[in-house]
């Protein structure tokens, strides 16, 4: 039995039955990482010894007849934006190179408590800022379907490690599409839960009112399995929802009959790649075949989503990233700091440490956010963006009064060549067109493969659902995957 060919649900069952050991699963993942990751760069840190030790502990537990956790033996890659007390947490930034936090993120703690095996920390855009994973200080991730192309971002490592079956599932974070877009470009399934569904404690903050942790896997059912473990109230995160966590995997059987799915005609306008458009339209047909009905709806302010997002997210980021100042942790300049060009040696230390530690995109967003919040510009930029955010959320509320789900593309194009957009920040921002509004509204969304281009690149389909409607969202995606084989395809390298 090849552990990495199994779904997460089957792998966990096999470990529980004794058909596989956790060590076998972990070793399989480690072997595959050793073989494939030099060409992919999906992982920033792999700790073989501690992963095997965790796996041995699971096997010992089983041997001793103790009950196993719901994810026992499951190899998980965790985005390097989540704190791990036994592994570095760098956010793919030179600023945090070698930084090891003294605590585990809530999600990491829940995974460990569920007997999952954390295989390593996955590559990402620096501080989760990017849509191609080319902003990593430790090199871009290469798309397992075509090594000359980007994975998307910012959770590019988490998408690629699942796509290339280096781990069964992974954890990403999504601030404006950072789970769904790379999932789409890498041919895997990625879920952005409702804001507050998964605790943000221990997720290095990018934009606190938008950030959300979520699972990535080969299937919606596997995403549901992981979500059952990582979702739930955390009294130490004031913004974590105190709502019961349903058994997502137990709620997949009900058919889609009577479910209304919205289609936004404006999504199919200029700029959408024809192959993508065709595959997404075909996706609607699949859902229709499953019993759903399709209805054209309008999200009148969706076209302002990117502009709104690129004011709000950088504003929050400019504040969230102020703590990287070379005093308490992280990079400090080795310059002597005695220049007259600065107010004081302290100010020079700040300015140089931050200039050296942050990459160009992070600096750009800090600058943009600082500007949008600064005296004289606050009303014109930040405040106005918050007003439009309310309009965008209202669009969703209005739409969800008419339909149960909204379907559509996740990304206008399939995976693009590395380097193609790195010189044009604005072009990169526009890649978030279909995904940012989900975060602005705080609702949930999922991306899964709905076809391939003629050249063999995966195409993603996105479904969005109202707040806390993950059961329906997962059910619809699972139903889609019962009727299609796209999610079973594996890259030729794999």
């Amino acid at each position: 039995m090849q552990p990495l060919e199994l779904s997460a649900i089957d792998l966990v069952a096999a470990v529980a039955n004794g058909d596989l050991t956790a060590v076998e699963c972990t070793q399989a993942a480690l072997d595959r990482i050793a073989a494939l990751d030099p060409g992919t760069n999906a992982f920033l840190h792999v700790d073989q010894a501690s992963a095997l030790a965790a796996a041995e502990a699971v096997d010992a537990k089983r041997a001793a007849g103790k009950p196993l956790g719901p994810l026992a033996g499951l190899p998980v890659g965790v985005k390097d934006a989540l704190c791990t007390r036994d592994m570095p947490t760098t956010c793919a930034s030179k600023m945090l190179e070698g930084y090891q936090p003294p605590y585990d993120a809530d999600t990491v703690a829940r995974l460990r408590a569920a007997d999952a095996v954390i295989i390593g920390k996955t590559n990402m855009d620096e501080f989760a800022m990017g849509a191609s994973n080319e902003n990593s200080a430790f090199g871009p991730v290469r798309n397992p379907w075509d090594a000359t192309r980007a994975t998307g971002g910012s959770s590019g490592g988490s998408a690629a490690c699942v796509a290339a079956s280096m781990s069964t599932v992974s954890i990403g974070s999504d601030t404006g599409g950072s789970i769904r877009q790379p999932a789409g470009l890498c041919g895997v399934t990625g879920l952005k839960p409702t804001y507050g569904r998964v605790s943000r404690r221990g997720l290095v903050a990018f934009a606190s009112s938008l950030d959300q942790i979520g699972p990535m896997a080969h299937s919606a059912a596997d995403c549901g399995l992981v979500l059952e473990t990582i979702a739930g109230h955390d009294p130490l995160d004031s913004t974590s929802l105190d709502e019961m966590v349903p058994s997502y995997t137990q709620m997949l059987e009900e058919p889609l009959a009577g479910i209304r799915i919205g289609r936004v005609p404006a999504h199919f306008g200029e700029g959408l790649d024809p192959e993508v458009a065709a595959a997404v339209e075909e996706g609607f047909r699949v859902l229709e075949a499953a019993g759903a009905t399709i209805h054209d709806i309008d999200l009148p302010h969706a076209k302002y989503g990117v502009a709104t997002y690129y004011l709000i997210a950088p504003s929050e980021a400019s504040s969230n990233l102020a703590r990287y100042d070379g005093v308490h942790y992280g990079h400090r300049t080795s310059e002597p700091c005695r220049s007259d060009a600065f107010d004081s040696p302290l100010v020079e230390m700040y300015c140089r440490s931050r200039a050296e530690g942050f990459g160009p995109e992070v600096k750009r967003r800090i600058m943009l956010g600082t500007y949008a919040l600064s005296a004289g510009y606050y009303d014109a930029y930040y405040k106005r963006a918050l007003q439009v955010r309310r309009l965008i959320r209202q669009d969703y509320l209005d739409a969800f009064a008419k339909v149960d789900l909204i379907g559509g593309p996740v990304s206008a194009t399939p995976a693009f060549p590395l380097g193609e957009k790195t010189d044009d920040p604005l072009a990169m921002y526009l890649l978030d067109l279909y995904t940012v509004t989900t975060n602005l509204a705080g609702v949930c969304g999922i991306s899964f493969p709905c076809g391939f281009t003629g050249s063999g690149l995966p195409i993603g389909y996105q479904l969005q659902a109202p707040a806390l409607a993950e059961p329906l969202l997962l059910r619809a995606a699972d139903r889609f995957q019962r009727l299609t084989e796209w999610h079973r395809r594996r890259p030729p390298s794999a």
Binding site: P102, S209, Y304, V327, Y329, C337, A355, K363, R364, Y381
Partner: protein
């Protein structure tokens, strides 16, 4: 909306980022483009719209006033670029 080099230099000071002249020039041109793009929002009438800063509608989240152990000092300062076993060290903070 066009930003000047000096506008950008002022923002860099606020953000505590040391930028070279070349970086300033590039940043000025990039920010001008981005700010031009986000100015798209000006076409929306927002006069009667309440800002929405957060997607959650929840209120009144508290914790009880019960102490828990703090980190040992060694761990608290372990990650500091410069420390003396007790405190974080920084270039002189001038009297204020």
């Amino acid at each position: 909306m066009s930003l000047s080099r000096d506008d950008v230099a002022k923002v860099a000071t606020l953000a505590r980022l040391a930028l070279s002249e070349d970086e300033l020039a590039q940043m000025t041109s990039e920010l001008t483009k981005i700010v031009g793009f986000v100015s798209l929002l000006e076409e929306i009438d927002t006069s009667n719209v309440e800002p929405l800063a957060h997607p959650l509608g929840t209120t009144n989240v508290f914790r009880e006033d019960e102490p828990a152990p703090s980190l040992p000092v060694e761990l608290a300062i372990a990650t500091a670029p410069k420390q003396d076993g007790e405190c974080f060290l920084v270039p002189a903070v001038l009297g204020d």
